[in-house]
Symmetry: C2
Subunit: 791 residues, 2 copies
């Protein structure tokens, strides 16, 4: 290694032993690092640029509830424009208008209020919108103004013609100020680049911590800001809302010094500490209060650009500063943009498709993009994060995630992760177990975000996510502890009528509303627990929860043929309209569609409902019946666009329904339905989504179904086969294997599958096993336009 | 050491080498620990029980603002009864009635609202009163009720006949419930013992985090509570008030299980997270909101006692739980009480006195007690604490303290600490330097508590405290960093007209009120910085600040003979009443008394004021002039009881004034004044203090003066001699030395000192050097009733 021996001798003679040792250590460390780098370079597969097919605008109009801004896969920062500030509640009463603004952005809006750093993707209730920044020029205005009169505040008009949204990058022209705004992000840091117009000698940056999504008077609990020096500001924002006790810390750095700054305080807390010693309104670096807005002025006379790095932390301002320094230690905006694109391509390349057309390619990779927007990383670069107990914890051997919209995502998103994101999915489960440890209820998450449980929706579907990972051998977590967490969660009597469910075998409608939905979902989750227990050899638990899993039977009314609310005295509730979505024992659905929710036992359910033929007719009716608009009007999370007959694709409880044909004598009937949904309910363009994307669940349905299979019952390794819309797909598995899917004779008309061949063998039943995917292999669908005879 | 050789051989033969090594390690560790313990046992000096002379009730009536509750020296927990809930502000306007309740307790009050865990001692503005507990029986009431109608709420009538207050222990009979309440404390944990009456089968414990001192609607920012299990509750309380952004964490443990519990929420924040899944009002363990009150019910049918341990933390609930487990890992109330008494005796024994009578002994040891109530420890048992930047810091090589009432305590309390608490005083300076490091202003504390700067009063007297320690060689801190902190603090232009002071040499009254007081105090602090610089050999700084120290001259008006407000154009303000305390350029004083505030240059000041004779007459007038009541009416912190003529002992700016006679031709004139003050302004009984004790400053004056000397200008090693009221005092110094003080021929009439002898040598001047105390030695005052000829 040291070829030049005289030189080596010289070195040895001129150094003492310790120095020589140090030298050799450094030399070998260098050699070893270089070797590692070479291996990594070699291991990096050649990535295709799939980001070009992603359109973050899809879902930003109507009910998609996605945001167009800049973020990286599973990133903590979602830096995105907010187009309005509709309050969640006015005078303490819910304002239904707010629903449009779950992600802060509505495509039809003519103005942008500013750019905030946190957004949920596709949810049907909301929060966040932290730390809005808005560059302005001219007269300083600290209020946001109104859509009708943007000139009355700091907001600006904008046009989609001068707006760009790409994975990891967003830009827009703020027309009222003639400012070009660009933004990109790393995991914990957003970076803004503002280009000011020629005539702006001094420009303002508005910082509005009073802004928020699902805002209301009272949401801001406390804001704390320190202007540390002329290029660094730190602080935090504490809110109460969907998350009751939420604090987000920040560090904001500028690439040029602040000229001057100031704050307005809008609360009337009589703070007496200052003894009138200071003018707090201007250039006073120590700011706190309930309602604060600030401005920072910059010299833009010759240097027309201002860059702002904005780091978040769940722990502290110190954590935010460290995140900032670690993730973006430079001011090269374009480098961050490029790295964000690379991160996206790394994830998007996990499935390489050959679509029928460009539209399908856009839909597919945008669905992939939406599927990887959450859950989001929730810890500092050093692994510290705030727990549910509001203490600081350290994620020692995992990445901690937050924002678990589990009632949605257990269905297809986490199953998708078990295929293309197994490492992250295991870490998500570790995060859920940490949540369980920190929960004063000893419960796994229901819908949790930012160290809070918001309890949204029903069931305890963490159990499904964990069980699915266990049966699929994705078990880089303590499975024993996980099983304990699941069974403990399933026995918290005071949780949402669970004691009644345990005592009576169903939730009685006279004790708790949406009783049928709850009974059905508890029963499914119980089955999932049983599957995990079986896999882990815990037979007593398997038996116990298999018994509970049958509880769906207790709400089946053979007379009406529907699942139907029962009272605590055992009788069915008398008044009953199976089409009505209100007060009938269901949540976000009616008896027609929700009665089909027995994903873990379709055969038994079909038996209960009168056998295969009768059930087949029932499904046929579901997809074809014509309903007056009134039936789904005013039902949250259900919009006209998502409906086919009485089937509601825009909301989750129906997502497995088309695949139920696989348990009838006519599985082929699923095929045209699935192809119709893929074609009609997912489109390109801002209004392309037919319902809330729900943190990737709608998109995960698309990804599975377009490849020809779907996880009807997570917790089973079986996927129901459908009808692929793609020509080909190659799944690059983390274990290095490849799974190839191809649709032979694929055309728009050839929607039926006449046979399915796995690794050269015809599949007898319309099901695929997860382990066959993970082993790698080849799945061939033979497409036809004729109704096949599969039996 | 191993005497039994066969046994040893057996052990050796039966163990492998590793086990043997481990065994030997353990053995030697045991031997070494035992030896250490023996040394410690030996080193413990025989302590006298001086706690019997402490009466915590002194100062609890009228304006003393002390509290009678249980605490240990410099303890973080001050567990004390609060007798009313007067709001600080009503409809946003200051309510002057609140002033009586700075420490939560007023002796004349007939009811006790409950027992809260944090109290300032003797301050003239306030905060705290965290986490009120109140045991009740009968009908559950969650509101505190009123003094006039205690039955309308949870409060109770009480009588001083059935009330006991001792160092570290407080008890009272709650007459309305017939409950005996007792409490004691360790540093971070309070322990309550409630004895319920025969007829109380179920008893309530009210937990009221809405209660607070200097409370107002809006002070409660957020409260978070978790009922972790049936004997442990954790949480925090976040308030805004004197401290703007303050959070205190707690852990509360019961010695018997909760039967049931509940909460009322009084705010109207529309929290929607619960989706009506739970009855949150009862037995729901996850509680948060702006305004919360709770109750816990206990079975008191047979076991009549309930004990509650209540730990505080500045960091987290986890920190509070650790503090609880570490400090009081048992339920032995009497042991905690005994240990608290021992801790007090250890501190009180630092000065062993022979007083003239029992009253003097009570006054002296109560003054010692009050002097050791603050600053208070502010960190967890593991050294973690919240800093001014709201980040968590670790006190690596010191105890972190908070609650620095420096405008008061720099005068005599910290100088007293340099004699009897040098270690703690150095740690307090380290705490101040940590504050400086964390300050966004780069300023040392002005008046800081609980990770907040409340900016109360004027000057930057941290400089005095640090300089005093430096010149007195109490320098277990980084003196270079300390000097830098002092000079940096003294140059923050935007702080309280400091830029004007630096530019003009005085604060102009047209730019900032109380301009003369500020100019005088800045000048003194600058002198203190100069003294520190001199001691550290930093001559440039010495010169610079010595120059600034002369600025008192700039506000002296030779014409009127008073310090007088000047305007920014250089002229003196025309309208001027040297007796008025309002709008004359002074704060909490008038030109008559505040003009004497040049503690660092009395000789020069006397020269300026016309020489020694004229000045002597001036002092004579000060003490004898008769003033109409109106002059001091409505002047905060000044009450009739504290006044002698125009001399105001009840407030700090005059504390050095009697000693100024030492710079005249008649030092003896100080003697009868000092003895009069010692006799008349300090009494036993609840109304014994003639003004706010101000976190020990009033008491420290007593301790110094009763021993015959006083630090007129901290930052100098010189003490001015006065007239001791004690017969003897022995100061037990931390360095092991003893300093003996004796007053020979001491009687009530013999108030004059005819000579003072230090270690056998007559002192020529009426001054004593600090180093002579620390070396140990003997100081003898020869007392006489005749006016001595000292010149």
């Amino acid at each position: 290694m040291i070829k030049n021996l005289p030189a080596a001798r010289y070195i040895i003679s001129s150094l003492n032993f310790q120095r020589l040792f140090l030298f050799l250590c450094l030399y070998f460390a260098f050699v070893s690092i270089r070797a590692q780098e070479k291996i990594q370079e070699k291991e990096q597969p050649q990535l295709k640029d799939f980001t070009q097919f992603v359109d973050p605008m899809i879902g930003t109009a109507k009910m998609g509830h996605t945001y167009p801004g800049a973020t990286v896969p599973f990133g903590s920062v979602q830096l995105s424009p907010d187009t309005d500030t509709i309050p969640y509640a006015v005078n303490g009463r819910y304002n239904p208008e707010v629903y449009k603004y779950c992600a802060g952005y509505q495509y039809e809006d003519p103005t942008i209020v500013g750019f905030s750093h946190t957004h949920f993707s596709g949810t049907g209730h909301s929060d966040l919108g932290d730390f809005l920044l808005m560059p302005t020029t001219g007269e300083l205005q600290l209020n946001p103004g109104t859509e009708a009169h943007p000139e009355s505040g700091y907001r600006s008009r904008f046009s989609h013609d001068r707006e760009t949204a790409e994975p990891g990058y967003y830009s827009v022209m703020l027309d009222d100020y003639n400012i070009k705004a660009e933004m990109t992000a790393s995991t914990r840091v957003g970076i803004h680049r503002y280009s000011f117009p020629e005539d702006a000698a001094v420009s303002h940056l508005i910082f509005d911590p009073m802004h928020g999504i699902y805002n209301y008077d009272g949401k801001n609990v406390w804001t704390f800001v320190r202007v540390e020096n002329d290029t660094l500001v730190t602080g935090y924002r504490q809110t109460t809302g969907w998350a009751r006790t939420r604090t987000v810390y920040f560090a904001m750095a500028f690439d040029k010094p602040i000229l001057e700054y100031g704050r307005e305080q809008y609360d009337n807390r009589p703070y007496n500490g200052f003894w009138r010693k200071f003018d707090q309104s201007k250039n006073f670096p120590d700011i706190a209060g309930e309602k604060i807005r600030m401005y920072f002025d910059f010299d833009t006379k010759t240097d027309k650009e201002l860059q702002v790095k904005f780091a978040l932390s769940p722990v502290s301002t110190r954590g935010a500063v460290e995140n900032l320094k670690t993730e973006i230690p430079h001011w090269d905006f374009d480098r961050v943009k490029k790295e964000a694109r690379e991160l996206w391509n790394r994830e998007l390349n996990k499935i390489d498709i050959e679509p029928a057309g460009k539209q399908e390619k856009i839909n597919f990779y945008t669905a992939m993009y939406h599927s990887f927007l959450g859950p989001t990383e929730y810890m500092d670069v050093d692994g510290q994060y705030k727990g549910l107990d509001q203490n600081i914890h350290e994620a020692k051997d995992f990445v901690n995630y937050t924002s678990f919209s589990l009632w949605d995502t257990y269905r297809a998103l986490h199953p998708l992760f078990n295929i293309v994101q197994p490492k992250r999915n295991a870490d998500m489960i570790k995060s859920m177990l940490a949540h369980y440890d920190q929960s004063v209820h000893s419960m796994l998450p229901i819908w949790s975000h930012y160290a809070n449980e918001n309890w949204c929706m029903i069931g305890y579907h963490s159990a499904s996510v964990i069980a699915d990972a266990i049966v699929k051998n994705n078990v880089d977590f303590d499975t024993g502890r996980a099983l304990e967490a699941m069974t403990t969660t399933a026995k918290v009597g005071y949780y949402d009528a669970l004691q009644y469910y345990m005592d009576l075998g169903y939730v009685p409608e006279d004790k708790n509303r949406a009783s049928v939905s709850k009974t059905l979902e508890y029963a499914y989750d119980d089955w999932a627990i049983a599957q995990a227990a079986k896999k882990l050899g815990e037979n007593a638990i398997f038996e116990e929860f298999s018994e509970r899993a049958k509880n769906y039977r207790n709400v089946f009314d053979a007379k009406s043929g529907f699942m139907r609310p029962r009272l605590s005295d055992g009788r069915f509730k008398k008044e009953f309209d199976p089409l009505d979505t209100h007060g009938q024992g269901f949540i976000e659905g009616n008896a027609w569609n929700y009665s089909l929710y027995v994903p873990h036992a379709p055969a038994e359910m079909i038996e209960l409902m009168g056998g295969k033929e009768k059930f087949e007719q029932r499904l046929d009716s579901l997809f074809t019946m014509e309903l007056p608009d009134a039936y789904f009007a005013n039902t949250e999370d259900i919009s006209r666009e998502g409906i086919i007959g009485n089937y509601v694709h825009g909301n989750e409880p129906s997502h497995h329904v088309a695949y139920l044909y696989n348990w009838t004598n006519s599985p082929w009937k699923a095929h045209d339905k699935i192809r119709m949904i893929l074609r009609d309910k997912y489109k390109t363009g801002p209004d392309g989504l037919s319902g809330n994307d729900d943190f990737g669940q709608m998109s995960a349905w698309y990804i599975f179904s377009s490849m020809g299979f779907y996880p009807v019952a997570p917790g089973s390794t079986k996927y129901a086969l459908g009808s692929p819309s793609l020509n080909k797909a190659v799944i690059h598995l983390e274990n290095g294997n490849l799974f190839l899917i191809s649709a032979i004779n694929q055309t728009k008309e050839n929607v039926y599958v006449e046979k399915t061949v796995l690794n050269g063998k015809i599949l007898k039943d319309p099901f695929l096993d997860h382990h066959d995917i993970m082993k790698g292999g080849k799945l061939e669908f033979y497409m036809t336009s004729k109704i096949p005879n599969l039996n």
